[in-house]
């Protein structure tokens, strides 16, 4: 979650200057402050804040991050990422343990989780391979169609996916001597996963593969003429993004303790897009900012709406209107707004990072 790119993209976050710790210097002071804050949050935050606010934000942020990677670096707005997460969650429920004993296979977690991630990654990669057969804006349609097909399939299928009711009674495992159901432990688990995926995305975006992917985004024909296999790069990007989304899906099913078709329904699928776009599609920090804003809105908007005399159920309206306003006035999302006002507020030198 560090803000390592307060300068331009020309300065790498990982300068290969020999001593191996140079990348530590690249982290902005505000980034350090954020890291310290997040690491010591359990010392003063309540369990509700730890899990329901930050834990959930990290999980949604990871799913949105996988969308941001595809959209920001690959130019492919994929709506299938939430479905990949849902697929991984379902697989954890089916292969592992749940209250639906006639379906769940009761594998131990160390077997269920990798297989679940593998299956979800294959699903995401195949979806990607289908959608990269067409250009640009078609992606959003095809992935939306795949996502809805998955939703209706899980709704109708009782033999594998247990239909409308789905699975409940899923709990995080007990390993390394830690019970990961414990709020503090789960907070650190999600924080660590989110930070790891953030760093990996940042690293991949500067790697030769990531640079080539950004090249295909900017000019696919020129990249093809240079000898790059554009389709293979795009499918590989889907594969990479699916791994992140799949791990987030495992965390999601542990967080919620249950999974049903609604978990990866059209609403949540669109919510992930909203989170990524509102946060900002240009930087990996954006999805986490968007996720935190979304979770805060989701948690507190009922009270806020009732305070101004509206029904608390109008939450979707708030989300939709907020999304439209951000889209109409700042295509770069909240990150874009921050970058525009930062020089005016603080001057470019001692600007703070884009902390949420």
């Amino acid at each position: 979650m560090a803000v390592v790119e307060s300068n331009s993209a020309a300065t790498s976050a990982f300068p290969r200057d020999g001593n191996g710790f140079g990348w530590l210097q690249a982290i902005h002071p505000a980034g350090w402050a954020l890291i310290v804050f997040l690491l010591f949050l359990p010392a003063f935050g309540s369990n509700f804040v730890l899990v329901q606010i930050f834990g959930w934000s990290f999980i949604l942020g990871m799913i949105a991050l996988s969308l941001m990677f595809l959209a920001g670096y690959g130019g492919m707005v994929s709506l299938v990422q939430m479905t990949v997460a849902g697929c991984a969650g379902y697989m954890v429920a089916i292969l592992g343990d749940s209250a639906i004993t006639q379906i769940s296979l009761k594998w131990p977690w160390w077997a269920a989780v990798p297989i679940a991630v593998l299956i979800a990654t294959i699903f995401g990669t195949v979806s990607g391979a289908l959608s990269v057969r067409t250009e640009g804006i078609y992606t959003i349609m095809i992935t939306l169609a795949i996502a809805s097909a998955f939703y209706y399939f899980t709704l109708q299928n009782y033999t594998i996916f247990n239909g409308f009711s789905g699975f409940n009674g899923i709990s995080p495992p007990h390993f390394l001597g830690v019970d990961w159901r414990d709020p503090t432990a789960f907070y650190y688990l999600s924080l660590f996963s989110a930070a790891l995926s953030f760093v990996v995305v940042l690293y991949v975006s500067r790697s030769p593969f990531g640079l080539a992917l950004q090249g295909t985004r900017d000019n696919a024909r020129r990249m093809a003429a240079l000898g790059f296999n554009v389709t293979a790069h795009r499918i590989a990007a889907y594969c990479f993004a699916s791994v992140i989304a799949a791990f987030a899906g495992v965390l999601l099913v542990w967080y919620q303790g249950q999974i049903s078709p609604g978990t990866a329904g059209v609403g949540p699928v669109v919510d992930i897009l909203v989170i990524a776009v509102v946060g900002g599609l240009s930087r990996p920090i954006g999805p986490f900012v968007g996720a935190l804003v979304y979770v805060l809105l989701r948690t507190f908007s009922i009270d806020a709406l009732q305070a101004v005399g509206l029904d608390g159920k109008r939450f979707q309206l708030v989300i939709g209107l907020g999304f439209l306003i951000v889209l109409l006035f700042s295509p770069d999302g909240l990150i874009g707004i921050w970058q525009r006002i930062r020089p005016r507020l603080l001057g470019p030198r001692n600007a703070e990072g884009g902390t949420p």
Partner: protein, 336 residues
């Protein structure tokens, strides 16, 4: 078509045989072995006719969607919401006035006006930014869905069928022979046939408008090359507004039609949007004949799927989409 026959003789033969088998299955009295193998003929014929009428509804929705995309490159993901809105508006007008046609007219006009407002106020702002436009339509669909949930609640509404379309009608399809030699004919709801006829009429009118009128010529030219069209002095913005209004109005009209023979409820917007997406992916974006073919295929797949393999009905539709994407990514009816 003759070109197709000479180029692909084997495929033509397969198609002819399939058509012959289909015709025989529709008109002949089924032998008992066949009824044992795949069920009663009544079920088969109902699925066939239901599929065709459902396809008609999908055609009405998807043709507006595909026109808007073809001309403006705007993937209008609020199309399902416009459908549902049209249904509610039509329900209101039809139940207040008692005239079904007034409901259809009101839905068409009001949703078309909304389409004009959207095009002029929102989409003209971000001309040429496809992705941003698409994201905006997602935002609009979220807002509209919640506003409609607010106004109409979660109940489901059904628009009353006009009396002259109500009730069943006898079709000249023999289901079985009684022992006294009397034929049992298929009874079928007249309103569904009416919808099929309406879809055909609208489709033909649209084809005529696109191919025989000046505006249609401009629209076709715009689908092919928008910049060149505007360079020739055509007021492209006017054409855009006209097409967006017409496409939106068609969605509203389809909402009344769908509300008459299905029902209106929250969530229906997403179902219809998904159907339109698959229809245009299968048929080919921006093509009216493609929308017709795609709608027919998707409607039939849905109905036959829900009759013969209930838990995998969605998968059948999806498999068709995947197969088309794998073999002809540009859609069945698109050249290039």
């Amino acid at each position: 078509m003759s070109g197709f026959a000479s180029r692909h003789p084997a495929w033509t033969l397969v198609l002819v045989v399939l058509c012959a088998v289909l015709l025989w299955m529709i008109f002949a009295v089924w032998p008992p072995e066949l009824e044992q193998a795949i069920g009663r003929k009544r079920v088969f014929l109902s699925a066939l006719l239901n599929g065709i009428t459902l396809g008609s509804l999908y055609f009405l929705v998807a043709s507006g969607f595909t026109l808007i995309f073809g001309l403006m490159r705007n993937v209008n993901l609020a199309h399902g919401s416009l459908y549902l809105l049209g249904g509610y508006v039509g329900y209101g007008f039809a139940s207040l006035s008692g005239y079904w046609f007034l409901g259809v007219l009101a839905a068409f006009v009001i949703v078309a006006l909304l389409g004009i407002v959207l095009q002029v106020v929102v989409f003209r702002w971000m001309e040429g930014q496809e992705l941003r436009q698409t994201l905006v339509t997602i935002g609009i669909s979220i807002v509209l869905a919640d506003l409609m949930l607010w106004a109409f609640g979660g109940d489901f509404y059904q628009i009353e069928t006009p009396s002259w379309l109500a009730g069943p009608v006898q079709l000249p399809f023999v289901l079985a022979m009684r022992s006294n030699g009397e034929a049992v004919m298929l009874q079928y709801p007249l309103v569904r046939l009416g919808i099929f006829v309406a879809a055909v009429v609208i489709g033909v009118l649209m084809w005529l408008a696109l191919n025989k009128t000046r505006l249609g010529m401009q629209i076709r030219a715009g689908v092919d090359d928008r910049d060149m069209l505007s360079a020739t002095g055509v007021r492209v913005q006017t054409v855009f507004v006209a097409v967006f209004a017409f496409g939106a109005g068609l969605a509203g009209l389809a909402g009344v039609v769908g509300g008459t023979f299905q029902s209106l409820q929250p969530g229906e917007d997403i179902k219809i949007l998904l159907a339109s997406l698959v229809v245009v992916i299968v048929g080919g974006m921006g093509s009216i004949p493609g929308a017709a073919i795609g709608a027919l295929i998707v409607g039939l797949a849905e109905q036959f799927g829900s009759v013969y393999m209930p838990t995998y009905a969605v998968v059948l539709t999806f498999v068709i989409m995947v197969a088309v994407l794998a073999i002809r990514p540009q859609g069945l009816a698109r050249g290039r």
